[in-house]
Symmetry: C2
DNA sequence: TTGTAGGCGTTATCAA
DNA sequence: TTGATAACGCCTACAA
């Protein structure tokens, strides 16, 4: 069979250019090719260019599947987030991918749509790839997920939250404290009748923690605080809708996140409620628009990049096991509250 | 070695529960276990429960790496997008993942940050996983990428755009027409001095196509149209900044996308420019806030879900090769323009 | 219906 | 430095 014929068969998916083909073509053994691919300097200057030329000519693409099997462990990291549509997580995944790919690791994403059962299914599938690590969001998992993960040797990182009993590593910050910080900000400004507007709190346990911290701190300060909750996902429409549910005498609202807060801003504008004089508004996330909207939004900046970097470090330097890393967050006061 | 000992070794990563272990434990052969896993009904009612019990007890997780090698083809689909931070693509990836995982396919994402060289690297890595398919964004690729993909038997889908010469399948819509549609809308409303505000047009070739279509249609109608371009990524800040660059007599602006348009809305509000009386604004994307902002935003709805579904179909029904599928888009007129 | 044998394309271990 | 050889864990014939 000529090389042209082989190329045709390859294109039709009947065959595939293997390391052995490269070896034959350059007159060396497959092991030398393998060695060249992993440590080019370990092979003599005589055959290196021959191998390189053969790879180029034959269009050889290494097969990581076979490599992973032989080496007992693949170069993929499985990242499981609640939703990619959520800016926090798409940003985290984005930053994580950047950090990992720099080190030759690839990212396999899954999203749970906030379902713990779906998460378990994804974890099971992820484990099937013998990944270099598994990254999960939060600390709320089914028993099945937990058992699966406790039983495996695969490094596990839980992110965006700090569990009391981490499965392995954890990177995040305490959301209750975020809620408390926002509450103290409100108290300092003299807002004594306030509300928390929460979207999908049953599923978004991090937002629920923020709500809890906020409510507690407020009540401990003797303020009147009500918790509004909408089962719909966070959106500007949800924010606008929740504004209907609060009493006329509420002076300030803390929102699930900036999207919800933006909805409140718009709705307030429609109703001619002056912000912050008539109603103060705060969000969470410091998304792109928070600094530019009218008025600019008081919010909490959570440092998604720092989380991603720390997670990547956890995975790359495996010496540091079973540790929890706390990342920063900062309250950014702006004109809206 | 007792089972407890084995479990310990597994946890330490020294060993792994294989199909053979399950087979031994349930007193059948490995092929029966394999068969059970793929076609549970093909195995006798006698041994099926025994196998199931052993899998459960041993915590067996199938190894897709080995499976993929033996079956010559893995169950991953590699999806490469410019950026996950961009709502269009995170939504597409999200919808795609949903459609694919329903059919037992997993999603491997990569993002290029709008670099064609990075895309080539990602394609090379993707190919190494012997994926079931590769999904790319747009039709602008390096020669290397194109050659790599032309040479392989792996199905390729280009999405979000309709190339003149697709590599394999393509799913999307013509962005020039989107720009023209927006221009016609402006013309119908009597806006005769207009501008296009483009973010990162050198890299975002789809936005550039929209800009081109818009400008051409406008000029063909004898209107005055200027093209503003900012090298920064699309953001509200970029939108606000670009508003500075247009002349005082411009009556309407079409934006790269809704985020940029939102920035314009905010900036206009700061300057007390009434919208749409003093300045009409239109976006692209129909993002969450477009219907709720003040005033609501005239925009183009691109149907990311339809794209994702069609791409998934292309991958799942391989009979339909080398076809281009055109997806819908619609101009949504709202108060801003 | 169940079991046996061979092979998928690499990597790791040794010996030369 | 290089090359032969044995895994890696599973799937797919084929045989029983």
């Amino acid at each position: 069979m000529t090389e042209v014929e082989k190329a045709q068969r390859v294109r039709r998916g009947m065959e595939r250019v293997t390391m052995m083909d490269v070896a034959r073509h350059s007159g060396v053994s497959a092991s030398s090719v393998s060695l060249f691919l992993r440590k080019p300097e370990a092979v003599s200057a005589k055959i290196a260019p021959r191998i390189a030329a053969a790879i180029e000519k034959l269009g050889y693409v290494p097969n990581y599947v076979a490599g992973g099997l032989a080496a007992a462990g693949s170069r993929v990291v499985s990242v499981i987030v609640p939703s990619l549509r959520n800016a926090f997580f798409s940003e985290t995944v984005s930053a994580l991918e950047k950090n990992l790919s720099r080190n030759g690791l690839q990212t396999l994403v899954g999203h749970t749509e906030y379902s713990l059962e779906q998460e378990e299914r994804l974890v099971r599938a992820a484990l099937s790839w013998a990944p270099a690590a598994i990254v999960l969001t939060g600390n709320d998992h089914t028993d099945g997920t937990r058992n699966l993960l406790l039983k495996t040797a695969t490094p596990v990182v839980e992110m965006w939250e700090l569990p009391d009993a981490p499965i392995d590593c954890a990177v995040g910050f305490p959301h209750e404290e975020v809620g408390r910080a926002m509450a103290r900000h409100f108290i300092a400004r003299g807002y004594e009748n306030v509300a928390f507007l929460g979207a999908r709190l049953d599923e978004d346990t991090r937002a629920a923690s923020r709500a809890r911290g906020f409510m507690e701190e407020m009540r401990e300060a003797g303020c009147k605080a009500q918790l509004i909750s909408d089962p719909a996902p966070a959106s500007t429409a949800t924010g606008a809708r929740m504004l209907d549910a609060i009493g006329n005498d509420v002076r300030a609202v803390a929102c699930s996140n900036d999207i919800v807060a933006l909805g409140v801003l718009f709705e307030a504008q429609k109703r001619d409620l002056t912000i912050p004089d008539r109603l103060a508004v705060a969000g969470f996330g410091d998304l792109d628009f928070a600094a530019n909207c009218v008025p600019p939004l008081t919010t909490i900046r959570p440092q998604a990049e720092q989380i991603a970097e720390t997670v990547a470090n956890c995975i790359l330097n495996r010496e540091s096991e079973q540790r929890s890393y706390r990342t920063d967050f900062a309250l950014i006061p702006r004109r809206s509250a």
